[in-house]
């Protein structure tokens, strides 16, 4: 019988192969995907989030856990077709126009994906128009923007203005991140939230989904 506690441990320790193996066993035994995801996988990611906050885990550990989580989720997704209860939400993410830094943004994308969000990563140097088009095309719930430069952080406001102009401001929640931005700046430009690391970005995304 599949030992789902080992799945939990595999997520926490970032062991992709063992996470995938247990997930396959569990599926074969007919265990409900919801139980596998909610009671073991998400709990594993939450434990990692907690360790990150407390300085007991770092970015490489988070990425490995997210990778193991994604490996298992890929097996479970086909079984969830038509059941949206396990979809955490759809996220559009990108670095704003003029800015080519992608490390932090990709960490956030990996973590969100690992935690069950559907992530559409638009890359770097993304224009306001592209962000708006992607929100419409994918019917997104959350928009995440990143900027590393003091000269490009101002472009976040332009994107928010474009979202507003397209009549999407009430539909999509906006999160920002990156070295020069902070909570005050987030409020100034009319974003819904700010996060300074990949773990709290996931928490924020969950909160924003809950308040939608």
């Amino acid at each position: 019988m599949a030992d789902l506690n080992v799945l939990y441990e595999s997520i926490v320790n970032g062991k992709l192969e063992s996470a995938v193996a247990i997930t396959k066993e569990a599926i074969a035994e007919g265990i409900s995907p919801q139980v596998i995801i909610n009671d073991y996988m998400i709990k594993g990611m939450e434990e990692m989030g907690q360790r990150f906050q407390e300085g007991r885990a770092y970015v490489p550990n988070l990425l490995m856990s997210a990778r193991a989580m994604k490996g298992s989720l890929d097996l479970l997704k086909p079984l969830l077709k038509g059941d949206t209860s396990n979809s955490m939400g759809k996220v559009i993410i990108g670095t704003v126009k003029g800015d080519l830094h992608d490390i932090g943004k990709n960490l956030v994308a990996s973590m969100l994906e690992g935690c069950g969000f559907e992530v559409i990563n638009l890359g770097v140097d993304v224009s306001s128009e592209k962000f708006v088009e992607a929100i419409i095309e994918h019917d997104a719930n959350i928009l995440c923007m990143s900027a590393l430069l003091t000269t490009t952080m101002v472009n976040m406001k332009e994107v928010i203005d474009a979202v507003e102009k397209a009549g999407l401001k009430d539909k999509v929640r906006i999160m920002i991140g990156g070295a020069p931005v902070n909570d005050k700046f987030s409020q100034q430009i009319g974003a819904d939230g700010f996060s300074d690391n990949a773990n709290s970005a996931v928490q924020l995304a969950k909160e924003l989904m809950a308040s939608n």
């Binding site: 970032g14 300085g55 885990a57 770092y58 970015v59 490489p60 550990n61 990425l63 490995m64 990778r67 003029g98 800015d99 080519l100 830094h101 490390i103 990709n106 960490l107 430069l149 003091t150 000269t151 070295a179 020069p180």
Partner: protein, 451 residues
Amino acid sequence: MRGKELLKQAFALQETARVPWVPFVGVHAGSLMGVSSKEYLKSADLIVEGVSKAIELYNPDGIPIVFDLQLEAECLDCQLVWADENPPAVNSHPLMEGIALEDLKIPLASEGRIAVTMEATRQLREKYPDLALYGLITGPFTLGLHLLGTEIFMKMFIDEEYVHQLMEFCTKVCNAMTDYYKEAGCDVVAVVDPMTSQIGPEQFEQFVTKYCTDVFAHIKEQSLYSSFFVCGQAQHNIEVMCGCKPDNISIDENIPLELVKDICLKNETSFGGNLLLTMALLLGTPEDCERNALDCMDIGGTKGFILAPGCDIAYATPKENLLAVTNLITDTYRQDVIRALDAKVSNAELIDKASYGSSPKVLVDIITLDSGSCAPCQYMVEAAQRACEPFGDRVVWNERSVKTPEGIEFMMGIGARNIPTLCIDGEIKFISTIPPVSEIKNTIEERLNLK
């Protein structure tokens, strides 16, 4: 004592007569000449001109030649994208695009912008023999990340051997860069490795310690001083960074300076930082910058501390902000004034500016640090005294020393910002410069006529 000699004392953890100042001027020097970052970083002549301009303005003890963490990466086939007001950014990671690690060659001193940087170093060395010139090299972990991208974080778990091979190669690049800077005339090699902030201390010890220790030992063998720059939240790694045996560790505002001081001094390592790059230097006022600098100086002290911004100064940073820091470093009066103004005045009630001076007598107030110890204050008080004498008891003068709570209360109530300041009936009339006695007399007379 100043310049290189002062910095040597700080590196050696000896008491310094004042805090040494190393503004990390990078592309900001381009803005001082009105040229873009791209033009600036590609021309040895512009770099020499820009750094010279910064030296002239900011009177530093040491200064970087170039602050660009993409210099080596560019020579190793990482594609760069250039911006007008920022250093370039790496846009491709060759090891993720089919290039094998064995095929990468250590860049030569004659290659690309490394040659430009070394040429600028030689010229600046000749021009400024007494200043400490900092040669910046990309730290091995950050260079590894440029070459491999974020995949390096996963490879730390799934292919440790590969990460070690990559770090070994990057260490060779660092050592070669050290040799080039030594030959060109640098005094200090700063190993800038910001991406280490993303890994934990155990991961640092597993994948970074050995290599950075090698880099710092090589710098020492060349009879140069070394600094380990890290930006971002790297608090958890300060101890292991000290373990790599650099002469100095420099950090940004993400880490409390007190903490870095404690750890570094315990490990017999000098330390530096951590002026606020954005909130003070770029977006603040000169007064904000002075306060921020003084906070750093008061925490850092004069043993093993180097005042510096947290990282590369932003292109558009107003020069007035950096000038305010520059002036503060040698102006002990100004330091005392700011400390006094920041001291909490318990239950102080500010004077009522509207009714102050409504009595039949004219009130002359001289706001000073202390006329006994501050020469400009003394001359201002003497000038005021002499100007008041002919008016007898129709004029009352008072010295308001900001060393007393009442003096601070008065200064804040009046809204004065400089020392010394002379006020007549609560209005600021003369600031800093001592006016001729006749001018003060005339002003008092005008005021008396209005009574």
